[in-house]
C-alpha cells in the first residue's frame, strides 16, 4: 500500500514537471483584415511617381527615348520620343514640361489587373494648368508605367475621389451605375467630335476647350483645302482597350480615354509644305497629300446620377506623332 502511494506521488510529480510548465503553441485563427484596401499606399504611389520622373529626367537629359522603357509605355513613350526627335531637329521646341510635384493621387483598390494610378500635378507655370497623369500596371510582375498625360482644361474641376486608404473602384466601361455609362459617354463624346459643334450631341456635354480647338482647326483646314480645290478629312477613334474608369466619391466616374485622331489634307497637283516643327515626323515624301496622326488623351468626368450635371472633359492633350505622305 505504502509503495503504491509513493509511486502515485512520484508519477504525479513527474507529470507536473514534464507537462505542466509551458502552454501549447498558439493556433492560427482568423485572417486579420488589412488596414488599407487600396492597391497602393500613398508611399508606394509616391515611390512610383518619383521613379518615373527620375527616369524621365535621365531620358530628357540624354534625349534618348529608350531610357524611358522602365516607366513609360504606350502613347506616353511614343509622344515623348516624338518630342525628343523634334527637340533635336528644331530650335526652341523642347519637350513638354511635365511637373513632378503632385497635388492629388487617385489610387485603385482593384484586386485584379490591369490597375490604375492617376495623379494631378502642381501647375507647371502660372500660364499652364496642372497635368493629369495615368499609370497602368498590366500584371503583378510588371511595373506601373506612365501611359498618358494631359493638361487640365481651364476652369475644369476634378471630382472628389476615394483616398489612398480605401482606394477608388475600377469600373467596367459598361458600368450601369452611372448614367450614361462610361462607354456610352465616351462614344457619344467621340461622335460629337466627329460631327462638330452643330452635333445634336453637343448639348449632352459641358463646353470644353479641347473640342473647341479641334473644331476650329477643322474649319480652318477644311476652308483652306476648299479654297485651293483640295479636301480635308479627319477621323476620331476611341481606344477602348486602353480606356480605364475610376469611380468618384459621389458615385460618378472618371474616364481616362486615349483617342486616335487623323487629319488628312490633300490638294491635287500641289506640293504641300510641312511646318518646320512637324518636319522630323514626316514619313515618306509629302507631295499633294499629308496625313497627320495624333495620339490624344482626354479625361472625361461623368457625374453621379441625379445631380443635374453634364459629362465634361476635364483634361485633354493633342499630340501629333507622325506625318505620312499618304
Amino acid at each position: 500500500m505504502k509503495r503504491n502511494t509513493l509511486l502515485a506521488v512520484a508519477a504525479i510529480a513527474s507529470a507536473l514537471a514534464l507537462a505542466g510548465c509551458a502552454a501549447e503553441p498558439p493556433v492560427v485563427g482568423a485572417t486579420p483584415s488589412p488596414e488599407a484596401n487600396s492597391a497602393l499606399l500613398e508611399s508606394q504611389a509616391q515611390a512610383i511617381i518619383d521613379d518615373t520622373f527620375t527616369v524621365l529626367a535621365a531620358a530628357d537629359k540624354a534625349g534618348d527615348a529608350s531610357l524611358l522603357d522602365s516607366r513609360f509605355e504606350g502613347d506616353a513613350a511614343a509622344v515623348r520620343a516624338v518630342e525628343y526627335s523634334v527637340a533635336a531637329a528644331v530650335a526652341d521646341a523642347p519637350p513638354a514640361d511635365l511637373p513632378s510635384e503632385v497635388q492629388g493621387l487617385y489610387v485603385s483598390n482593384a484586386e485584379t489587373w490591369p490597375r490604375v494610378l492617376a495623379a494631378v500635378s502642381e501647375p507647371p507655370t502660372d500660364d499652364l494648368t496642372p497635368v493629369v497623369y495615368l499609370w497602368i500596371q498590366d500584371s503583378v510582375e510588371e511595373p506601373y508605367t506612365l501611359r498618358a498625360w494631359a493638361h487640365m482644361v481651364p476652369g475644369a474641376t476634378l471630382p472628389a475621389m476615394a483616398g489612398a486608404v480605401d482606394g477608388a473602384t475600377q469600373l467596367a466601361l459598361g458600368e450601369q451605375g452611372v448614367d450614361p455609362s462610361p462607354r456610352a459617354a465616351l462614344e457619344n463624346y467621340v461622335e460629337f467630335l466627329r460631327q462638330g459643334a452643330g452635333s445634336e450631341l453637343a448639348p449632352d456635354f459641358a463646353p470644353d476647350s479641347y473640342s473647341q480647338q479641334l473644331f476650329a482647326a477643322r474649319n480652318t483646314l477644311a476652308e483652306a483645302a476648299t479654297t485651293v480645290g483640295g479636301a480635308y478629312v479627319d477621323t476620331v477613334q476611341p481606344n477602348l482597350a486602353n480606356t480605364y474608369v475610376l469611380s468618384t466619391s459621389d458615385g460618378g466616374a472618371l474616364v481616362f480615354a486615349p483617342l486616335q485622331v487623323t487629319s488628312s489634307f490633300s490638294v491635287t497637283g500641289a506640293t504641300l509644305k510641312v511646318s518646320d516643327r512637324d518636319a522630323p515626323l514626316v514619313q515618306g515624301k509629302v507631295t499633294d497629300r499629308a496625313t497627320y496622326t495624333y495620339r490624344d488623351f482626354v479625361v472625361l468626368s461623368v457625374p453621379a446620377p441625379g445631380i443635374g450635371q453634364l459629362p465634361a472633359v476635364v483634361a485633354a492633350e493633342h499630340h501629333v506623332v507622325t506625318v505620312k505622305a499618304e
Partner: protein
C-alpha cells in the same frame, strides 16, 4: 498513529514534493522560445493569420547571400507567388517545429541567359532538394540577380546580407510577409521568436513547502534516535515542584482562595420551613455564622 509517525510521513511526502519541484525547476522552459525550420526554396511566405499569432515577436530568415523581405496585400502576394517556388509557414507544429507546406513551380533551365525560352528535355521542379547543375562561375563573373518582377506592389521592404530579421510589429496587420534570396538560391533557415506563457507559478511553493515538510519529518525521525528520558524526567520534576508551590501557605487577604476557604457567600435555602410564604416573618438561617462550608455547599 503517534505524532512522530505522522510527522515522518509528512516528511516523506515533503521530500517527494521537493524533488519534484527541483526537477521541474531544472527543466523549467524559457518564456522566449525559438522555433527553427529548414528551407529548400528561394521564397518563404508567412500569411497574415500566422503573423497575427499571439506571442510571435520576430521572424528571421537566413540565406547564403543577399536576402529581401517584403510585405504586401494578400491578393497581391498570392498573384506574385503563382510564379514562385515557395515555402508557406502555416503555423506551429509544437514548439520545436514549424508547420509548412511547399509550392513548387516547374522551370525550364536554359543554358544561356536568353530572354526567349528554349525547349529542353530536362525540365525539373525548381524546389528540388537535389543540387542542380549550374554554370561554374568564372573569375570576374557578376552574380546575376533572379528576376522577381516589379517591386511596386510591396508595401514595405527590408534587405540584408545572409539574413533578415524583422519584428512582427513592423508588418501591418492583414499583410502577407514574403522573403526571398536575391539570386534565386534556396534560403537556409527560418526562425520564429515567440514569447510564450510558462505555467511555473507552482514550482517555488512546491519547493518551499516540500522542504519544510521534509525538515519536519527529519526532525521526527531524529527524535526517535535520541534518548530524551533524562530530559523528560527533569521536566516532570519541574512540573511537580511547580504544582506544589503555595500549598499550606496562608491565603492572601481578599483573594478568591481566601473567599473559597471562608465558605459560600450564598446562604442555603430552607424549603418547607415556616415563613416561606412571607407571612410568618423573615427566613431564619440555621447555619452557624462563620462556619466553613464544604466545596459542595453542605455544612461541615
Amino acid at each position: 498513529m503517534t505524532l512522530r509517525t505522522t510527522a515522518i510521513i509528512a516528511g516523506v511526502i515533503g521530500l517527494l514534493m521537493l524533488i519534484a519541484g527541483l526537477v521541474a525547476n531544472d527543466s523549467r522552459p524559457d518564456s522566449e522560445v525559438l522555433t527553427t525550420g529548414t528551407l529548400a526554396t528561394p521564397v518563404i511566405v508567412v500569411g497574415p493569420e500566422v503573423m497575427a499569432l499571439p506571442g510571435l515577436s520576430r521572424i528571421t530568415v537566413t540565406a547564403d547571400g543577399a536576402v529581401e523581405a517584403h510585405s504586401a496585400r494578400g491578393v497581391d502576394a498570392s498573384a506574385w507567388l503563382k510564379r514562385q517556388s515557395a515555402t508557406y509557414v502555416v503555423g506551429y507544429q509544437g514548439w520545436d517545429n514549424l508547420a509548412t507546406r511547399t509550392q513548387s513551380r516547374v522551370v525550364v533551365p536554359s543554358a544561356s541567359p536568353s530572354p526567349s525560352p528554349s525547349p529542353s528535355e530536362s525540365a525539373a521542379p525548381a524546389a528540388t532538394s537535389e543540387p542542380t547543375e549550374a554554370p561554374t562561375a568564372a573569375e570576374g563573373d557578376v552574380e546575376l540577380a533572379a528576376d522577381y518582377g516589379s517591386a511596386d506592389d510591396w508595401r514595405a521592404s527590408w534587405r540584408g546580407l545572409d539574413r533578415v530579421s524583422i519584428a512582427v510589429d513592423a508588418v501591418a496587420p492583414g499583410e502577407t510577409f514574403v522573403v526571398f534570396s536575391a539570386d534565386g538560391s534556396d534560403l537556409t533557415n527560418v526562425q520564429f521568436t515567440a514569447t510564450r506563457q510558462v505555467n511555473d507559478g507552482w514550482i517555488n511553493p512546491l519547493i518551499w513547502i516540500g522542504a519544510a515538510l521534509a525538515a519536519l519529518g527529519a526532525l521526527a525521525a531524529l527524535s526517535g534516535l535520541i534518548d530524551t528520558r533524562p530530559v523528560q524526567a527533569r521536566v516532570e520534576a519541574w512540573s511537580r515542584a511547580r504544582a506544589k508551590s503555595g500549598a499550606g501557605a496562608e491565603a492572601r487577604p481578599g483573594s478568591r482562595r481566601e473567599r473559597r476557604l471562608a465558605g459560600s457567600a450564598v446562604p442555603p435555602s430552607a424549603f418547607g420551613e415556616p415563613g416561606m410564604d412571607g407571612a410568618d416573618g423573615p427566613i431564619q438561617d440555621d447555619t452557624p455564622a462563620g462556619e466553613p462550608t464544604k466545596d459542595e455547599g453542605g455544612v461541615l
